[in-house]
């Protein structure tokens, strides 16, 4: 096979791919638009999917919540934790402390009250990832707030050290403060309970909890006397949860499990993921069809050009190489532009529409390399295949006939 010269081998297809005719504009424009939308949908689907997977795989499914109860009168203290630790069905026990607090907010100039709960390692709330990726476990001087409390946005507090009143009445006028740094926010709509709880480390939560009992002088004394607010008891596997519930109830403890709630929430996320997946498949089909059609129209209208190339000395195979390269260059260009646009839109969405994102039940929407890669591949594939199908006929046509028809 003759080696083609530099001028024709790369230059011709590159120039053709770059210089836009009206049909090429349509092809590139439609592919760009559809590709960008498909990438956005896939990104949202992927975010919904990972939220759903996270919930389904979370330790919550094998956990039992033991609540302090006036009726049971059994304090959830260290002695009880030691006893329960001997149960072969129990993997781990997490003590939880809950106390009341008011936030002294300058802007807006209102006080809001919220609970302060120790973080639950089994059920990490969906954190808005643009703030901080790995917040847990929190240090003693940090707090993660709900994105809003009583309709007041907490966002302006990010990164600042905020004073918290040590009583449950809330508001800015409370007595001495504990100062905590706001390090993140979570999507409270995903919280199973305690929708207006600031999440802090266990020792910090105990400070707040112990103030509710004026008789105690230290957190240790508080635990010994009143006990923790609740214990999260993690079974070794999901199947043991019913048995564990029975055993703990038999001891007179007030117990509930998370399974029903978590499964329900995860089901919603799974439905969202499926719908987004279907939308993306539809989008991919439309993208493929549009590329196929536009690429086909584009190339079939160039039969005289193909014939001319053959008349001036190109073989059929060489023309095919040229057109293939042109299609690949064009496809890559469009796919790169779509990817860049989709990433930009996703980042904009993350920054400006996170309220909506939270309503969709997603902790965040970030550019997803997998989604971008999938749509990238579909776009290039559709443009190249569409073009190849369209150039078969002009290539097979005798140049003498093609040139005569002109």
């Amino acid at each position: 096979m003759t080696v083609m010269s530099n001028v024709s081998f790369y230059y011709y297809p590159l120039v053709n791919a770059v210089r836009f005719s009206s049909r090429r504009k349509f092809l590139y424009g439609s592919s760009f638009l559809l590709g960008t939308i498909a990438m956005l949908l896939l990104t949202i689907a992927s975010s919904a999917g990972s939220a759903s997977d996270k919930l389904l795989s979370s330790a919550a499914l094998r956990s039992v919540d033991v609540q302090a109860s006036a009726t049971s009168r059994i304090p959830l203290n260290e002695a009880l934790i030691r006893t329960l630790s001997n149960n072969p069905m129990i993997d781990r026990i997490y003590p939880v402390a809950v106390g009341g607090a008011g936030i002294k907010v300058r802007q807006p100039a209102v006080g809001v009250s919220l609970m302060v709960a120790s973080d639950l390692p089994i059920q990490e709330p969906p954190i808005i990832s643009s703030i901080k990726q790995s917040l847990f476990p929190l240090t003693n001087h940090e707090i993660v707030l709900p994105i809003s409390v009583n309709g007041v946005s907490m966002e302006p507090l990010l990164g600042s050290v905020v004073g918290f009143a040590l009583d449950s009445s809330g508001g800015p006028e409370g007595p001495p403060l504990v100062e905590l740094k706001v390090v993140g926010f979570y999507n409270s709509s995903w919280q199973l309970d305690g929708h207006e709880a600031g999440i802090v480390s266990l020792p910090t939560a105990l400070i707040f909890a112990s103030t509710s009992d004026p008789g105690v002088t230290s957190t240790a004394a508080y635990i010994a006397k009143d006990g923790y607010s609740s214990l999260v008891v993690e079974a070794k596997n999901e199947g043991q949860v019913p048995g564990l519930l029975s055993q703990l109830s038999a001891r007179g403890l007030y117990v509930t499990d998370y399974q029903e709630q978590v499964s329900g929430t995860a089901a919603v996320a799974k439905v969202a993921k499926s719908l987004a997946g279907i939308a993306v498949i539809g989008m991919a089909l439309v993208l493929f069809g549009a590329s196929l059609s536009a690429s086909g129209t584009l190339l079939s209208s160039r039969r005289v050009e193909v014939a001319t190339l053959r008349a001036i000395g190109f073989t059929r195979l060489q023309v095919l190489y040229q057109l293939l390269l042109e299609l690949i260059f064009g496809g890559l260009g469009v796919a790169l532009a779509s990817s860049a646009a989709a990433i930009a839109v996703v980042l904009m969405m993350s920054n400006f529409f996170h309220g909506l994102i939270l309503r969709l039940g997603l902790s965040s929407v970030n550019p997803d390399p997998r989604s971008v890669s999938i749509v990238f591949a579909i776009e290039v594939f559709a443009i190249v295949i569409g073009g190849v199908l369209a150039i078969i006929r002009p290539l097979r046509l005798q140049p003498s006939i093609a040139l005569r028809d002109w």
């Binding site: 003759t2 008349a311 005798q398």
Partner: protein
Amino acid sequence: MTLIEVHEASFSYTGSQGRSDLILDTVNFELHACEFVAIIGESGSGKSTFLDLLGLLSCPDSGDVTIFSQATKNLGEADRARLRRRSIGFVFQSFNLINQFSAIENVAVGSWDSRGNANEKARNLLRRFDLDEALFEKRPMQMSVGQRQRVAIARALINDPKIILCDEPTGNLDATNTSLVLEILHKLKMEEKGIVAVTHDNEIALAADRTLRLIDHKLRPLERDK
């Protein structure tokens, strides 16, 4: 020096219903260096088909076309393309320039030289045909028809072929541009090239060294040459 020799070549088109239409019947022809041959004939007489045979774009059903003493009947597509590229330049009535390319690119695209050389050769050819430098980067739609035809002729010459085949080279040109193209063809003939022009244009027919008429599927010398 004989550049092309056509020996007893016949050609028929087979229609979609299987009917065969004879276009050329045992045609003989020779083209020599420094010769300008015009071929005239009625529309549909087979002039362009004959040009396709000379340019190796079609194969005769019988007989053969010999280029530089090389028989082409049994050549494969790639070999025919290689021979065409090396030895034959085409000039079309509709110019067939690539719209998205500039004048320079249209000329250089046919080159089998390295890119830098191709561009330089293209530039020199365009200069030679009195095209303004400002037009070199313009695309065909931004040029007059005369300018387009000169670009098309430059493209035909980019690989310095010995044979130039022209299909109605002045068919879309006014009198001034027709004279200009004739002048160019005459100069090319002086450079030891052989030129075949299929035409309806009397001016070209009169300017040619020989004029042949395609009639009744045969090539016959025009009366004036007898």
